[in-house]
């Protein structure tokens, strides 16, 4: 019969739960549009509606995500209420100061991600299922704190001054948090889907590097301060272009870390078949499939994001394509993964070379994301070091 015993977790939720969830998202969208419909323009209303549809879709068969979204919503709104109109409460109000101000929430996120990585690796190497589960719990908590941090930061920017207010995806500091949160969410999705926690440490490794960079950026450069938007960024496009891009970056990172795990497993399978990596990491074809899934997801969203970026450029830079270094590097990343996918889908390449290629792909992606800002000059200089 089947070649292996592995089965995917489809995890359908009870129908009643799905409908309650969809109803809740509908209600939230209606409430939002009734309260604030007058100050939103057509694009923003569309974004609200699409966000509600997206959340309804993501949460309908994913219990963890539903809790994550609910807790984020409740705690963020609580923080907004605590703030009132006084930003200074961030230092004086106990709850805000120690938990819910964006800076505190992000610090919690950072600490929790680092702890989650340790827990996952402990679980893997000590063969402890309990530690694995702790890893999952910590990752969910970190994701939630990170998301709360972003939500509250969004509000804080408006408290500085209404004309300063903007969605917190406008500079390198903010997108690093977005990156950590999105990558972790993607991982959690696949963790549940593929019923394995053994890859957690590897994925959290790349997230932890982002977290460490973000901590340096905060304490070394004071990058956490909220800055007003330069005119070129004052556009509704930012709300969709940036998150779409980071789904791409997150998925590519995930694929690369699975690639690392894949190579480690092949290596240990030949040298020490009873080793932890050889026995506890998922089956090679499963990791191979997962790597493909992640790259396909990343590619789809990266395509979308690059096209959205082109549409934005046509409004802001005088043309949909200017061969700006950021645009060109986006094309390079795209071409690289397009080649990867062709290799895999039509030439049927599998296994080690594709794992290596996925890892190299991460470096190409990393250069497009960071290197361009650091070493090259161009129009897209919104996050400089």
């Amino acid at each position: 019969m089947r070649e292996n015993t592995f089965t995917l977790q489809q995890g359908s939720s009870p129908l009643a739960v799905i409908w309650v969830w969809r109803g809740l998202m509908l209600a939230a969208a209606i409430l939002l549009l009734t309260l604030y419909g007058t100050v939103l323009d057509g694009y923003e209303i569309t974004i609200v509606v699409l966000a509600a549809v997206g959340l309804a879709f993501l949460g309908q068969n994913w219990r963890g995500f539903r809790w994550h979204a609910l807790i984020t919503a409740v705690l963020s709104l609580w923080a907004v209420k605590r703030y009132g109109s006084d930003l200074k409460l961030a230092d004086t109000d106990f709850l805000l100061n120690y938990l819910l101000s964006s800076q505190s929430a992000i610090m919690w996120m950072s600490a929790l991600f680092l702890m989650a990585m340790l827990a996952y690796f402990t679980g893997l190497f000590m063969r402890s299922e309990f530690s694995d589960k702790v890893g999952t719990g910590l990752t969910w908590t970190a994701v939630t704190m990170g998301m709360i941090g972003l939500m509250v930061r969004w509000r804080e920017s408006y408290l500085i001054s209404p004309d300063v207010g903007h969605i917190p995806v406008s500079n390198l500091y903010e997108v690093f948090i977005l990156f950590a949160v999105i990558t972790a969410l993607l991982y959690l999705f696949y963790e549940r889907r593929y019923q394995t926690r053994a890859l957690g440490g590897f994925v959290l490794l790349v997230i932890s590097m982002a977290v460490i960079f973000q901590l340096w950026y905060t304490f070394g450069r004071g990058a956490n301060e909220i800055q007003p938007l330069v005119p070129a960024l004052q556009s509704y496009w930012m709300k969709i272009h940036v998150p779409a891009n980071f789904v791409g970056y997150g998925a590519f990172s995930l694929a690369a870390m699975i690639g690392v795990a894949y190579l480690l497993k092949t290596w240990q399978t030949s040298s020490n078949p009873q080793g932890v990596l050889a026995t506890r990491l998922p089956l090679l074809p499963v990791m191979d499939d997962l790597m493909y899934k992640a790259i396909a997801l990343g590619f789809a969203f990266f395509t979308l994001a690059t096209i959205l970026g082109a549409l934005w450029a046509a409004e802001a830079w005088g043309g949909y394509w200017s061969w700006d270094p950021k645009e060109t590097w986006a094309l390079i990343v795209w071409l690289n993964y397009a080649a990867w996918l062709h290799m895999r889908m039509t030439k049927g390449w599998h296994g080690r070379p594709m794992a290596w290629w996925a890892i190299i792909g991460l470096f190409v992606t990393l250069f497009a994301f960071l290197g361009v800002n650091m070493f090259l000059s161009g129009l897209h200089s919104y996050g400089t070091l």
């Binding site: 019969m1 089947r2 070649e3 592995f6 089965t7 995917l8 489809q10 995890g11 359908s12 939720s13 009870p14 129908l15 001054s161 004309d163 300063v164 004071g222 800055q227 007003p228 330069v230 005119p231 070129a232 004052q234 556009s235 499963v286 499939d289 899934k293 396909a296 997801l297 590619f299 789809a300 395509t303 979308l304 096209i307 549409l311 046509a314 409004e315 802001a316 830079w317 005088g318 043309g319 949909y320 394509w321 061969w323 270094p325 060109t328 590097w329 094309l331 390079i332 071409l335 690289n336 397009a338 080649a339 062709h342 290799m343 039509t346 030439k347 361009v372 090259l376 000059s377 161009g378």
Partner: protein, 674 residues
């Protein structure tokens, strides 16, 4: 057997996946060049950077505009050709796959599939067939029942997700569509026109009316991206397109007038918006079209898009007061009027020949040096930039602040100087006198340059210094007097470093330390006395009579005079009044290929998602009558996501089993699956 023809071999080579992947990666690598080497910079910059040999090599490779270099376009063309051939070859199969149900499969091949199940039911074939078909239809499968009397069996072939194949077609056609659209919008036609000799690249800095006919592009439907800077109150109906080492001029079918340009700032000083009020006049319009544009909000008119791209000075009117820094040329009593970008001959001494005003800025928002928090921005007020060009053509560039700027708790007029644009400005800090003017310092400079005055003060100081000396008083006084005057002269010529050099050169090493210090002290005393003289206050006779303010002023004034030889200008230009006139930098684009490119983008996005997230799933059910009922053979396959298909197959199998028994309730989700 004959060899396949060359055309056929070429065709199959072009459609190979190896070529496609090679081209994708080659394009990726080639694209890197243009990100590492800044594109479309002025050619002299490249020449300076690479030297004459490599400059020529790189130019012939088209590296300064690599994305429209012939070889780069060739890679793109090859990619499009390879994709086209691939689509051409595969399209018939793909289109068939979208709709066609496979009805030729045999029971043997179904049993060989990874996903298959076999079971028996007691009902008759007809009932089961009807129920199974109803199930597939209800689940959204296209399906077809085929009776096979020769084998004594019935086949139901069902399929879902045929549009997955459409994903292949859409993504690949999208690449072709996008590239064709982009080709329409590229500057390739312009380069061809130049190559054919119909278009000349202009490299000189000419006024619009002087641009020759062969460098002008008439109104047409070709694509271009040009720019133009229009001062407030002025208008233009052309745009300049950068091409190679110069430009060509594009004529527009309408006139753009600029009523006003505005910059709004955040409370922190960072710019918040750039806006231009435009008026479009066009014979086709009944009344002029008025529209405000800003970054992210361009104006689209008749297929042209007008963007807010930059801003510059538009020839602001300035009133400048020159302060002579040299005895030969002053003093001046009147200010004069000029405007930004004006060049005028000057009468400032032997060396200066021309004054060129290069820029004026109302705001200079810089980090506040007096603030503890770096990054706290403050507005330091207006500045002018100008060059003073000597008769031999060399120029120094200056940057003068209109208002005093605080530095370490005291106010100064800043004046920066640099020899070439790559340097940063070195600043002269001129102390502000009691009247808030630079006059006090200029008077001090004047007094130091007044040799008679210096001579008198030197004589006076020599007398006082040597009042206790009895022997040879006359000679000593004379010597000291001369030395003091000479020290001041040295100081004027080269600051303290010149004095230091003199001490080094003229004093014996043994005495150098003691005497050198004495010389410097005497020089300071002299400078103080000259300063006191300029104050013209009888109550102040010696340095000890100066108040703190005056002592600080003297220190700063001396420092500034010491730096003066490096400053190199015969005058200090004070900006006393201005009328700000700005120019808005517009980018004007005409992109007829845009709708085509956008169509391609839509195809690409839809295609990619269909390709990855709509797996094509096929199922077959063969029903064969048996003694006690019917044997059912069920099999399925998916072209994507094998692991998801595992459970999908199981689920379908369970539901189908219930359905043929008449027990399947589509409203009830099977709880066993969770």
């Amino acid at each position: 057997m004959s060899r396949p023809s060359f055309a056929r071999r070429l065709f199959s080579f072009l459609s190979t996946m190896d070529l496609a992947i090679t081209l994708l990666l080659t394009l990726a690598i080639a694209s890197i060049i243009g990100t590492v080497l800044q594109q479309n910079q002025p050619y002299p910059d490249y020449l300076l950077k690479f030297g004459p040999f490599w400059f020529d090599v790189f130019e012939s490779l088209g590296l300064y505009d690599v994305y429209s270099a012939a070889w780069f376009l060739l890679i793109l063309v090859l990619l499009v050709v390879s994709t086209s051939v691939c689509v051409f070859r595969n399209a018939p199969t793909m289109v068939r796959e979208i709709w066609q149900l496979r009805t030729q499969v045999q029971a043997k091949s179904l049993r060989a599939m990874q996903h298959h199940e076999q079971w028996t039911q007691s009902s008759d074939v007809e009932t089961l067939t009807a129920q199974a078909q109803a199930y597939f239809t209800q689940q959204g499968f296209r399906n077809k029942v085929v009776a096979r009397p020769e084998a004594g069996e019935t086949l139901i072939s069902a399929m879902k997700g045929g549009m997955n194949r459409m994903g292949y077609l859409l993504t690949h056609l999208a690449i072709i569509v996008i590239c064709l659209g982009a080709l329409l919008d590229s500057n390739v036609p312009m380069k061809l026109a130049k190559w054919q000799g119909n278009l000349q690249v202009e490299t000189r800095d000419l006024s619009i009316s002087k641009v020759p006919q062969e460098s002008r592009l008439a109104v047409g439907n070709h694509a271009f991206r040009g720019s133009i800077s229009i001062p407030e109150g002025k208008s233009a109906s052309v745009a300049f397109i950068g091409l190679e080492d110069g430009y060509v001029m594009q004529e527009l079918p309408f006139k753009i007038a600029v009523k006003d340009f505005r910059i709004a700032h955040y409370a922190t000083g960072q710019p918040k918006s750039f806006e231009s009020d435009l008026v479009i006049t066009d014979p086709e319009l009944e009344s002029p079209l008025e529209q405000t544009i800003s970054v992210n909000h361009p104006l689209s008119y008749r297929g042209y898009t007008i963007y807010q791209a930059s801003f510059a000075d538009g020839g602001s009117l300035l009133t400048l007061k020159p302060w002579a820094l040299s005895q030969e040329i002053g003093p001046f009593d009147t200010a004069f009027n000029t405007k930004v970008f004006d060049k005028q001959a000057t009468a400032w001494g032997s060396n200066a020949a021309q004054l060129e005003i290069t820029n004026f800025r109302v705001f200079n928002i810089n980090p506040d040096p007096t603030d503890d928090e770096p990054g706290n921005m403050r507005n330091f007020g207006p500045t002018i930039n100008f060059k003073i060009r000597s008769k031999t053509g060399e120029a120094r560039e200056y940057e003068n602040y209109m208002l005093p700027v605080p530095r370490d708790g005291r106010d100064y007029f800043f004046s920066g100087v640099r020899e070439n644009p790559n340097e940063t400005f070195r600043y002269l800090y001129l102390p502000v006198d009691d009247n808030g003017s630079v006059a006090g310092w200029v008077a001090f400079v004047g007094a130091l340059q007044d040799t008679e005055l210096v001579d008198m003060i030197a004589a006076e100081m020599a007398t006082i210094t040597l009042s206790d000396v009895t022997t040879e008083k006359g000679i000593l006084q004379k010597n000291l007097h001369n030395s003091l005057a000479a020290l001041v002269e040295l100081f004027l010529r080269g600051g303290f470093s010149e004095v230091g050099r003199f001490i080094e050169a003229s004093l014996p090493e043994a005495d150098r330390e003691a005497l050198g210090a004495a010389y410097l002290a005497m020089l300071r005393e002299m400078l103080g006395r000259v300063y006191i003289h300029t104050l013209d206050q009888p109550a102040i006779q010696t340095i000890t009579d100066l108040n703190d303010e005056q002592v600080f002023f003297l220190q700063d004034a001396v420092t500034a005079v010491g730096a003066l030889p490096l400053y190199g200008a015969p005058v200090y230009l004070e900006l006393t009044d201005y009328t700000h006139i700005q120019a808005t930098g517009l980018q004007i684009a005409h992109m007829p290929g845009k709708p085509i490119v956008y169509l391609g983008c839509a195809m690409l996005i839809i295609g990619v998602f269909l390709l990855f997230y709509l797996p094509q799933r096929r199922f077959w059910l063969i029903l064969k009558p048996e003694q006690n009922g019917c044997n059912l053979l069920f099999a399925g396959m998916s072209n994507r996501n094998p692991y998801e298909f595992d459970s999908f197959f199981d689920q379908t199998y369970q539901q189908l089993k219930q359905a043929v028994e008449g027990n399947f309730d589509p409203e009830k989700r099977s709880e066993s699956m969770t």
